[in-house]
Amino acid sequence: MKTEFNKNAIVYVFLIPILIHFFIFQLFPIGFSLVLTFMDWPVIGTPTFVGLENWKQFFQDKLAWKAIWVTIKFSVMYILPTMALGLVLALLIDSGRKASGIFKGIFFLPVVTSFVVISGIWAWLFKGTKEGFINGMFALIGLEPQLFLASSKQALWVLAALSIFKVCGSTMIYYFAGLQSIPGEYYEAARIDGANKWKTFWKITFPLLLPIHFYVGIITTIGSFQIFDSAYLLTGGGPNYATTTIVYYLYQEGFNSLRLGYASVLAYILFFIVFGLSLLQRKYLSKDVSYK
């Protein structure tokens, strides 16, 4: 007869080291970051306890609120187009079965490409002079050249366009999976009832994708609140803080101004927002739509 240890040897051999790893690199840092919000922690010099000072400062910090506002504006520009484009692409590849693999691959390519590579290309596409590709195209059809990244009105739009291009391939994948789980009989029934394609889409496809809409909506929103790479690479938060997002501001405060305590407050603000959104997701996802 085997002893209790032998029966579960594999559990103890692997789980214990992994739990220690989890404690050191996940759990401890999260607790530590809460402590940091009550500390003044310059990178060089001694940390001091300052109580609620950092939190008070956050509520008075106009730039922090501006960063939150910029992030919300970005989300508004980005979420719906990403979802809509993802759905359109999914519908297209779902109907074009023959070559759908190739098209799926092409639409998916930006998802696997790093932000740095795409930003490198984007920087030249949207150069705010006649040398920029888009301005070159504008010139051909007689439109005025635009400032794009150098304009505080347009820069955030360019970042949103980049993110939509980068991410809609993954939204497409969720919608594609959703479309394939809708049973064919529904379409069969609609056809017999003489419904046209437009009607079939709005009465059957779109409502039956409801759980996917919620899921995609929430993860896209969570992603948009964590936007950093493109703001860092393309605009450096400017012009005039027009593209300073929450995470970009956190990076600035933490690693340029070296105020780690205050940056931790910003990290917690981000956490509260993302946590709130996740709760919404859970609330709505529990109302799963059943097909049968």
Binding site: N6, N8, A9, I10, V11, F14, L15, I18, H21, F22, F25, Q26, P29, I30, F32, L92, S95, G96, A99, F103, I106, F107, F108, V112, T113, S114, F115, V116, V117, I118, G120, I121, W124, L125, K130, E131, G132, F133, A139, F165, K166, S170, I173, Y174, K197, T205, I219, T220, Y232, L233, V247, L250, Y251, G254, F255, S264, A267, L270, V274, F275
Partner: protein
């Protein structure tokens, strides 16, 4: 919802061209001796074809070193993730032990918190450990991941219990069962974990930006970004972009279906 064929394909082709244009510009630009402009078509057509840009990036930058760094910080997590996620997936799917579900769902909940919450405390910890400008801060925290464990667990839970029982009766222990029976059956899901880990680590920009402050230690993402902000020469920049894009592209070509699966499962962008 079958749409009539040829207009559909026409539309799909037009859309995919829009998606491909940035990549085509990158590729064409990398082989052209072109200073500033990409706007005027005449300059594009007149520019001479050259491989000088590629020679330049390797001779005037730490480019080869950046690629080497990226390989190190990618390959180690890819293989250790495949291994640890497989073992832990097996443990959480098939074994019984105290607090199993509390541990598993507790870890899942913690990982749902945004990564930005970790970066500052980790920065302080790794400074104390003297890990800044070493590979360790980019490798050690990444050697396993609860999402990978989750995939493997979900997959293994669907495998019938009879398989293990037969092996137990034949006298096999856990390690043999894991290695000989479970692992071979889980190849697709483990490939998903590996592919996903490759792309995430290869493309990561934020983490190395914080933990690597010496140019020699940059991975290709941070290195390329530093080159982009310095050069101002279109051909050279695009050559850099092409070289850093190739590994992702190859992995994508060969493991596309695993990567698509990973995206659908994690909810990552």
């Amino acid at each position: 919802m079958a749409i009539r064929s040829w207009p559909l394909y026409l539309f799909l082709t037009a859309l995919s061209l829009m998606f491909l244009i940035p990549f085509v510009i990158m590729l064409l630009g990398s082989f052209q001796n072109i200073e500033q402009a990409i706007g005027s078509p005449s300059e594009w057509l007149d520019a001479e074809f050259t491989v000088q840009n590629f020679i330049y990036i390797f001779t005037n930058n730490d480019f080869a070193r950046w690629i080497f760094n990226s390989i190190i910080i990618t390959i180690v997590p890819v293989f250790s993730q495949m291994f640890f996620c497989a073992v832990l997936g097996y443990i959480f799917a098939k074994k019984e032990f105290p607090f199993k579900n509390v541990i598993f769902w507790g870890m899942m909940a913690v990982v749902m918190m945004p990564g930005q919450l970790l970066i500052i405390p980790r920065y302080i910890m790794f400074s104390e450990f003297q890990w800044i400008n070493t590979y360790l801060p980019l490798i050690v925290p990444e050697i396993w991941g609860i999402m990978g464990v989750f995939f493997v667990r979900q997959y293994m839970m669907t495998l019938p219990k009879d398989l293990e029982e037969a092996a137990y009766i034949d006298g096999a222990n856990d390690f043999t069962i894991f290695w000989r029976i479970m692992l071979p059956l889980c190849k697709p899901v483990i490939a998903t974990v590996g592919t996903f880990s490759f792309i995430t680590n290869w493309n990561d920009f934020f983490t190395p930006l914080i933990f690597m402050t010496e140019s020699k230690m940059y991975p290709i993402t941070v290195g390329l970004a530093s080159m982009l902000s310095r050069e101002g020469h279109f051909g050279i920049e695009m050559a850099g972009a092409v070289v850093s894009f190739i590994p992702t592209f190859l992995i994508f070509l060969f493991f596309q279906r695993y990567f698509v699966k990973g995206i659908a499962l994690t909810g990552m962008k």
